[in-house]
């Protein structure tokens, strides 16, 4: 800064308490607004990812054949053929008390036809439990009926895109379709839900598990989806599932259990770290605000020397003067913080309107923390000027030195 600018700044700052206070409020408001806004953005990102994953069902465990150390990857190609998962394995899992649903799955691909129209579609062999486990929703009709998984009727639930391709706008419920060389009656149509677990839910036909076993001539399951009773029980369920299947497979740990909880937990952790990091960056602006407050307060003290001297002559002890200046600093910080929060909420509201899909939200802890930090900053940086004021010699102060 050029010396004349420094003088100009000082003269402007000396102009009056109103400008001085406005300056301090502004500094604090900007600091707090950035802290709150940035943590809200971080929290929003966390929620966004969390929501995306919750669509898959948060209490879900996926059991797949084969042992793999890294979660999420395919079973290893070397290391021997693992024992396949069977329907009996799946039914055995229902013994665990923390398991709510078990949904065994067989996945294959087959041509699906209605009259002259034919499409190649993903065929899912499943049971009635798939509906709650995967949060599937029906546009029309019913899902697969519950009952003995060994004996399924020749019925099918089809995805919305498949229905459109085969039937157009004509009604499909109750009609017969051909999958490969077998006939199935359409009893339900899924709501369009997009993709989930890497499968297009639109181009899908779901048939009873026993029917898919004979269709694809296989006994082994592609996956077993397990839903725990609560999200907290996911870890216990994971252990129980491993334990039961290990016993059934002769002591061999030849299955892999993937929990979304682990995945969600990782994301939670990543985004919490991110939020903290971003909050930390914003906290720097708070520190800057604090230093500005200290400077302006120091100017205020030197400007109000005579006043401080008078207060001392009128019998105010040093502690009283210290308190007066600290309260000023504290009030300014808190008012600034409230203004900053209002600004941040305005920003959050505006962003919520601009990007309605992004679940931006101010985490309550951020508000409390911001208020606390503002107060602490104000007091911390107010202490030095206030102590200077309290220690002024009254005789010198009164004569204006």
């Amino acid at each position: 800064m050029h010396i004349t600018d420094t003088f100009g700044f000082a003269i402007r700052a000396l102009r009056g308490a109103r400008a001085r206070s406005a300056l301090m409020l502004l500094a604090m408001a900007i600091g707090i607004a950035s802290v709150v806004l940035l943590t809200a953005l971080g929290e929003g990102a966390r929620r966004y990812v969390g929501n995306e994953f919750s669509n898959l069902g948060t209490h879900l465990l996926v059991v797949l054949p084969g042992r793999t150390e890294t979660t999420g990857g395919p079973p290893p190609l070397i290391g021997g053929t693992p024992k396949p998962l069977t329907l009996d394995d799946a039914l055995a899992l229902t013994r665990s008390t923390t398991v709510r649903y078990v949904a065994p799955l067989i996945v294959g691909s087959a041509p699906v036809s209605h009259r002259q129209l034919e499409r190649e579609a993903t065929i899912l062999g499943a049971t009635a439990e798939l509906l709650p486990v995967r949060n599937l929703e029906l546009a029309r009709g019913k899902f697969l009926p519950p009952g003995d998984p060994e004996r399924g009727a020749a019925v099918a639930v089809i995805g919305s895109a498949l229905k459109q391709n085969l039937f157009g706008n004509a009604p499909a419920l109750g009609r017969w379709i051909r999958i490969h060389d077998r006939r199935f009656r359409v009893i339900g149509i899924l709501k369009p839900m997009g993709e989930s677990l890497g499968m297009d839910l639109g181009e899908l036909a779901i048939i009873p598990l026993s029917r898919s076993q004979s269709l694809f001539d296989t006994e082994s399951l592609f996956r077993i989806l397990v839903q725990a009773t609560t999200r907290e029980h996911v870890a216990r369920t994971e252990r129980a599932v491993s334990e039961i299947l290990k016993t059934r497979h002769g002591g061999e740990e030849d299955i892999t259990v993937i929990t979304q909880n682990a995945l969600l937990g990782t994301f939670d952790e990543i985004f919490r770290t991110l939020t903290l990091a971003v909050g930390g960056i914003a906290a720097i602006s708070l520190a800057v605000a604090g230093i500005l407050i200290m400077n302006v307060m120091l100017v205020a003290v030197s400007q109000r020397t005579a006043e401080i001297g008078l207060l001392k002559a009128l019998g105010a002890p040093g502690g009283e003067i210290l308190r007066l200046f600290l309260v000023e600093a504290g009030l300014l910080s808190v008012t600034g913080a409230l203004l900053g929060m209002a600004t941040a909420y305005g920003g959050v509201w505006a962003m919520g309107h601009l990007f309605p899909d992004f679940p931006i939200g101010v985490p309550p802890w951020a508000l409390a923390a911001a208020l606390l930090v503002a107060l602490l900053t104000g007091l911390l940086f107010g202490v030095l000027p206030a102590r200077r004021a309290a220690r002024l010699d009254p005789v010198r102060a009164l004569s204006g030195h």
Binding site: A17, L310, K312, A313, L314, G315, A316, G319, V395
Partner: protein, 222 residues
Amino acid sequence: MIRLEGISREFQVGDERVHALRGIDLDMIPGDYLSIMGPSGSGKSTLLNILGLLDRPDSGRYRLEGIDTTTLTEPQRAAARRERIGFVFQSFHLLARLSAAQNIELPMTLAGIDPAQRRQRVARTLRALGLADRAEHRPDQLSGGQRQRVAIARATIMRPLILLADEPTGNLDQSSGEEVVETLETLNRDGITLVVVTHDPRIGERAARRIRMVDGAILGSG
């Protein structure tokens, strides 16, 4: 009531040590009217500051109502200023952002007196000084004489034993000065101990006891 014994005070000015006060002895009884005169630098303001407990002597004893003030802690000295001493300054030292009434109220606010009583006492004092219609005026809306009378009201609102006035008429024209001195003398007649520091002989001569100071020592009193 007030007894100074061998009060000395030195200041460091550059490389030199300046003896502002050299062995001052002084006694005062309640209701005294004392003027301290002398040229600039004679130590009269330093003496007033020590009397007002704003400054500490380097040596000597100062007894106020039988209490040795040199042994008091800073908060105790502040309390003594609040309860027993009133100050009137040459430059008034009114707070510009407060109204006349609020300025007068300030010592009571600092002393923690409850608001209803404060308002009552302020109103009474304003009436007594003929400033009732100026209560809500800010200092910059008052004349010099009015400002000094507001300052006197502030100095006496806690009913102190002693009123210390440092050049109370220094910033006033003659008629305003006259008015202010009369206000001070009225308070003195009502029982307050009054000490006026001045270099205006016309003001100083009016006091019952007159002290002349030169070079930090009392030359003579009459």
